[in-house]
C-alpha cells in the first residue's frame, strides 16, 4: 500500500484514499474534431508505460478530491515528487533521479533473476 503526498492536503496519505488516473501531461487536442484517426488513437490509447520514471495523475478522491501529478519510479514504486494539476511537467531533482536509478538497478537485478545474489 503506497504512501502518497497530496500536494493540496500537504500531507502523506494512504493509497486507499487515492485513485490512479493514468499518464500525466496528455493534453486533449484543442480542435479534437479535426484530428486524424491516427492522432486520435495516439491521444486516446497510446501511453508510454515507462519502466522507470513515469509521470502520472492521481486523484485524492477520498480526501480533497483534487487531481494532481506525480513522478514515480515504476520499478521501485518510489515517488520522486508530486505537484499540483495544471503545472507543467516538473523536472525530477538530479539527486533523486540518481537515487532512483540506483535503486532501479538494484531491484531489477534482484527480480530479474529472482534472487541471484551478488
Amino acid at each position: 500500500m503506497l504512501l502518497i503526498h497530496c500536494p493540496y492536503c500537504e500531507d502523506d496519505r494512504s493509497e486507499l484514499e487515492f485513485r490512479w488516473a493514468g499518464e500525466a501531461h496528455i493534453a486533449r487536442p484543442e480542435a479534437i474534431s479535426e484530428i486524424s484517426d491516427e492522432e486520435f488513437a495516439e491521444y486516446f490509447f497510446l501511453r508510454n508505460n515507462e519502466k522507470g520514471l513515469t509521470y502520472e495523475r492521481w486523484r485524492h478522491i477520498h480526501g480533497c478530491g483534487r487531481f494532481f501529478n506525480a513522478a514515480r519510479d515504476t520499478v521501485s514504486d518510489r515517488f520522486l515528487m508530486t505537484y499540483k494539476a495544471g503545472l507543467p511537467k516538473q523536472p525530477v531533482p538530479v539527486a533523486d533521479k540518481m537515487a532512483a536509478t540506483a535503486e532501479e538497478k538494484t531491484v531489477e537485478t534482484w527480480e530479474a533473476t529472482e534472487g541471484d545474489a551478488r
Binding site: F45, N49, E50, E114
Partner: protein, 417 residues
C-alpha cells in the same frame, strides 16, 4: 529425446534415476538465426516449438532475460477456459483449449490439464443477462458453457453458500466443464524440452537491450547482454515488458503494465473440485493438486513493473472468498506473490504484424495469457512463418485501435479473468 513413460520411470527407478537427459540444453548463441523470439515463457517457447514442428523453421533462438517460464507463465493461477463472448476471442481461446486437451501427449510431458470445470457465479439480474449472452453465443459457436441453477451449482461445488440471505446471494452460475487448470511450470518445461529437441536454442539469462534495424527499417537482429545476435524475423512475446521491448524498435503499443497478485493457502485435503469465479465480488479460486487453495487477487490500480502490490488487494479478495465460502475463514494464506500483466484498452490481446518489417508482436494478454498459451503460440508461429495472421487471430491486430473495431470483452460483460 528420450520418451517419458511409466516404463522409463520404472527403468530409472532401479538405477537411481541416473539416466535422465537434461530436459533442454543451454547453448551459446549463434551469430544469427532465422527467427529470434524474445521471451521464453509459454507463448514464446510454444511459438518456437510450432515453428519447428509445423513450419519447418528450426534455426530459432528464444532469448530470455531471466529463467525460462519465470514470468507470468510461472506466476498465474492456471485457469483454462474458452467461454468468451466475441468471435475473435472464442476463436483463439477455443483453438487453445482444443490444443490443451492433447498437449500432454503432443509434448510427451504431463502438463496436468485437468478439465475440472470453470464455474462463474451469477449474483444478480445483470450477471444473469450477461452470462446467458455468453452461453448462447458459445453454444452457437460450438463451445460448451451451460447455465446452472443455484442448487445445481451447489451440487457441483458442495462448499458453496447458496443461502438467499448472503449479501450477494447466488441466482445461478455458468459452467464450462471443459475449462479447468493445468500445471503452469510444466507447460513451459514441456515446450522447452520439445523445442530444444527440435534444435531450438533457448538462451537464458540474456537480456535484450536493443533491436537493430536496417536501412529499410527492417529488423536485423537484437543487441543483448551476450552481444549482437542477427535475425531475419523477430517475434516479441515478453509479457510484462512488451512496451519496453517494442520501444526498442520504436513501436508504441497501447499497453499498461499493472501488478497482479495471487496467493495460495496451506495445503488441505481435497475440498474444492473446480474453478469458481465471481466477477461481482471479484474473486476466483481453485485447489491445486498439492492441496493449496489457489486464489487470484485483483490488479493494483497503477502502472508498475515491481511484481509487488498492496496488501489491500489481498484482503479485498479474501473478503470476497470468505463471503462466498465462509468455512474458509480459518484457512491460512501461505504465500502471496505478484506478476506484471500487460493490459490493452479493450482487454483483448494484440497479435500481429507491426509497422517494422520482420517484427511481430504477441502481447496484451492481461490476465488471460496462461489459458491462451498453446493457441497463442500456435498462431504466433503461423504469423511469424507466413508473415500474415492466421484466420483465427486476424482480429487481434494493432490497427483496431485506429479504426475503433475493439474486442471489448470487459465492456461487454465485466468478465476480465
Amino acid at each position: 529425446m528420450r520418451k517419458y513413460s511409466v516404463f522409463a520411470i520404472a527403468r530409472e527407478a532401479i538405477r537411481a534415476h541416473k539416466g535422465w537427459d537434461a530436459q533442454w540444453t543451454s547453448p551459446e548463441p549463434r551469430s544469427s538465426y532465422d527467427v529470434i523470439i524474445i521471451g521464453a515463457g509459454g507463448h514464446g517457447l510454444g511459438a518456437a516449438y510450432y515453428l519447428a514442428k509445423e513450419h519447418g523453421i528450426t534455426n530459432i533462438a528464444v532469448i530470455e532475460r531471466g529463467w525460462l517460464g519465470g514470468g507470468n507463465t510461472g506466476r498465474n493461477t492456471t485457469i483454462i477456459r474458452s467461454n468468451y463472448l466475441y468471435e475473435e476471442s472464442m476463436d483463439i481461446y477455443e483453438h487453445s483449449l482444443k490444443l490443451w486437451e492433447g498437449l500432454s501427449q503432443e509434448l510427451n510431458y504431463n502438463v496436468m490439464y485437468s478439465p475440472r470445470g470453470v464455474m462463474m457465479l451469477s449474483h444478480n439480474t445483470h450477471d444473469q443477462q450477461s452470462f446467458k449472452r455468453h452461453i448462447n453465443a458459445n453454444r452457437l459457436y460450438g463451445i460448451d458453457n451451460e447455465w446452472l441453477t443455484p442448487e445445481q451449482a451447489k451440487a457441483f461445488v458442495p462448499v458453496l453458500d447458496i443461502s438467499k440471505t448472503a449479501r450477494y446471494a447466488i441466482n445461478g452460475a455458468a459452467l464450462q466443464r471443459r475449462g479447468g487448470t493445468a500445471r503452469h511450470d510444466a507447460v513451459a518445461w514441456g515446450y522447452a524440452r520439445a523445442a530444444s529437441d527440435r534444435g531450438v536454442h533457448i538462451i537464458q539469462n540474456c537480456e535484450v537491450t536493443g533491436i537493430r534495424r536496417g536501412p529499410g527499417g527492417e529488423v536485423q537482429g537484437v543487441e543483448t547482454s551476450k552481444g549482437f545476435i542477427g535475425a531475419k524475423k523477430i517475434g516479441v512475446s515478453a509479457a510484462g515488458h512488451s512496451s519496453v521491448v517494442m520501444e526498442m524498435a520504436g513501436v508504441r503499443v497501447p499497453l499498461a503494465s499493472n501488478p497482479l497478485q495471487a496467493l495460495v493457502s496451506e495445503p488441505l485435503k481435497p475440498i474444492f473440485p473446480c474453478v469458481v469465479m465471481s466477477n461481482t465480488v471479484h474473486a476466483y479460486i481453485s485447489q491445486s493438486d498439492k492441496g493449496e487453495l489457489v486464489i487470484g487477487a485483483g490488479t493494483d490500480q497503477y502502472n508498475s513493473y515491481s511484481q509487488t502490490g498492496g496488501l489491500q488487494i489481498i484482503t479485498h479478495t479474501l473478503d470476497a472468498i470468505c463471503e462466498l465460502f465462509p468455512i474458509f475463514r480459518r484457512v491460512k494464506m501461505m504465500r502471496q506473490w505478484g506478476g506484471i500483466t500487460d493490459n490493452t484498452p479493450d482487454r483483448s490481446p494484440i497479435q500481429g504484424v507491426t509497422p517494422v518489417p520482420g517484427l511481430y508482436v504477441n502481447c496484451g494478454w492481461g490476465t488471460g495469457g496462461f489459458k491462451a498459451t498453446p493457441g497463442s503460440a500456435n498462431l504466433f508461429a503461423h504469423l511469424i512463418a507466413t508473415g500474415a495472421p492466421h484466420r483465427l487471430a486476424a482480429g487481434l491486430n494493432l490497427d483496431r485501435f485506429r479504426t475503433g473495431r475493439l474486442i471489448d470483452e470487459a465492456a461487454a460483460a465485466a468478465v476480465a479473468h
